[in-house]
Amino acid sequence: MAVEKIAPGPRVHLAVLDEVLNLCRANSLWPMTFGLACCAIEMMATGASRFDLDRFGAAVFRPSPRQSDLMIVAGTISKKMAPTIVTLWEQMPAPKWCMAMGNCAISGGPFEFEGQYAIVPGADLLVPVDVYVPGCPPRPEALIQGFLSLEDKITKGERRNVIRRFKKSAGKNR
């Protein structure tokens, strides 16, 4: 598990300010280019012109963890790669989120069998994962839905999505 002390919150904590900041953070997620295997190609396809992640403000793929606030673990995590993932997660500044993309990152996927010696079955054994996107590889639409649910999680409710706010049924369960 990433050894990370429970960080103290911000020095000045205002509810309204937090809400505004979360709204801004949710709509400008900067993911870190971190493709491990097949899911990386679907991540690139999502960033390309057809599925266009830019509509959600999330396609600014930053190579270095210092400038990114979302780590997408896209692909199979081999045991040799595990310490690197933990290092990258720790080198990301707060606030940071993690998205486990694809079955390999969720639970080892098609390579998890009795006698498997080479892979770590799941990214949540290494870093705290916020959103799981199932699929092998998940279709670009599934990844975009992952981004939307992460944005919902950041803003703690559907106020972000104006249309959904007017649907009476959906708004209640938050």
Partner: protein, 160 residues
Amino acid sequence: MSSEDLKRALEKIVEPSSVHARDYERNGCLLEIGAEPGQLPAIARAARDAGFFLEFITAVDFADGPVAVYQFNECETISRTQVKVQLAREESLPSIGSVYDAALWYEREVFDLFGIRFDNHPDLRRLLLPEDADFHPLLKEYGKVHAFRSARDIYDDQDA
């Protein structure tokens, strides 16, 4: 530069009894040679002079010891030759990295996954597994496998 003159060259190195042709349609290779570990550098040089390139080096773990499989091929004609070397359990192989540079990684991978050591290999360390791994995964008694047979009952009666 085709496989005939490689066959003649190899027959000088290895005794002719262990050189036998294979049916390309069924098995995909034309010539198969059973060799001793010591003859490998000579075989590699002969293949290099005949203009062959090294397709791969791998090993297959059997009850009476692993069999190292070297495979050479040529670009112009279909002339795939396989060299099989039966090893005892802890025996080591001479490295042919000086003749074929591709062999350096293949040998490191065979050492990594099978534990077969290669003498005078410039940089024999693990290739695929993390450096601190202490097991050789592709050996049959590691982990769960379907069967653990001896070499005779696979190779001997296959062409009968």
